[in-house]
Symmetry: C2
Subunit: 134 residues, 2 copies
DNA sequence: TTTTTATGTAAGATTTCTTAACATCCCTTG
DNA sequence: CAAGGGATGTTAAGAAATCTTACATAAAAA
C-alpha cells in the first residue's frame, strides 16, 4: 500500500543509478527518451530516480542482455503493467513466465541491494550483482 | 546478513537527505563536523549518505528536539554503538530505554518511508532489545 | 557580561548534470 | 555492396548543486 509510495519516491541522482545498474548515463537517458522509464525531476531539472525506476532499469538491462531491442522491451514492460486483459496465446504465456522469473531474480537482487533492515555482514560488491543476470 | 551492506551503501546526495530529514544542509554538515555522522564521499568530494546515515540523522533530530545538545547526543549515539560494556546505573538504563523507544519510533517511520520489499512487514527486532533485557 | 553553541548566509571554486550534436558500430534490407 | 536505422560513445557549453571558508547572530552557558 504505502509500499508503492516508498518505491516511487524520487531519491537517486543519475550517478548513483549508474553504479546501481551498471548502465551508462547515455543509456539511461536514451531509455528515458524512448519512454521506458520516467524518472522525476528536481526543481533544477535533474533526474531523480525511485526504487521502482532502478528496478525497471534493471529489468531493461536484463532484457537488453537477452538481445531484445527497445521496441521489444517496451512491449514486455507494457504487458507487465496491464497483465489482466484478454486471454493470451502460448507464446505470450511463455514470455510472461520468463519475465516473471526475471522479475523474481530482480527481486532477489532488490532484496540484496536495497531492502532495509539490520545486522549481519556479508560482502557483496557491485560487479557481483551481474551474477543474477545474463 | 547483507543488510548492513545495503544500509551502509552510499546513495543519497545532501539535497535528498535534507528533504528526508527536514534538516538544513548547514545542520547536516555541522553534525558531520562534530563527528555525529560520517557520510561517504564521491570521487568529486560530494557527500553521499547511506540509509544508516539518514537513520542516524533522524535520531539526532529527534534528540535535538528533545532539547539535548550535541555533546549529549554524541554520548547517546556512542552508547548505542557499544552497548555491551560496564554495568549501568539506573539513570543510564532509563536513558537507554527512552532511546530505544525513540529508536523504534524511528524504525517505524523508516519502514514507512524507506524500506524496500513488497510483501510482509518486518517489525521489532528482538535481538537488539535482548541486549538490555534477559 | 562574556563566551560558546548551533545555525544562517554569502562568496567563490569545483563537481555533476543537462541538452545537443556528431561519431561509430552493427544490423537489416534493398 | 550501399544505405538507413538503432543503440551507444564522446564532447562541448552552460546550468545546477555542492563544497569549503568566513562572517553574522540569537540563545544558552559560564
Amino acid at each position: 500500500m504505502s509500499d508503492e509510495i516508498r518505491r516511487s519516491m524520487p531519491l537517486f541522482p543519475i550517478s548513483i543509478v549508474k553504479s546501481l545498474t551498471d548502465l551508462s548515463a547515455r543509456q539511461i537517458r536514451y531509455y528515458e527518451e524512448h519512454d521506458l522509464v520516467h524518472p522525476a525531476r528536481s526543481e533544477g531539472n535533474r533526474r531523480l530516480f525511485s526504487f521502482n525506476d532502478v528496478d525497471r532499469l534493471l529489468e531493461i538491462k536484463a532484457l537488453i542482455e537477452k538481445g531484445i531491442n527497445l521496441a521489444g522491451i517496451k512491449q514486455v514492460l507494457s504487458m507487465q503493467e496491464a497483465p489482466e486483459n484478454e486471454p493470451m496465446n502460448q507464446e505470450q504465456v511463455e514470455e510472461i513466465h520468463n519475465d516473471l522469473s526475471e522479475k523474481e531474480l530482480r527481486r532477489m537482487l532488490q532484496q540484496e541491494l536495497l531492502t532495509a533492515g539490520r545486522h549481519g555482514k556479508s560482502s557483496l560488491r557491485q560487479g557481483e550483482l551481474s551474477r543474477f543476470f545474463h
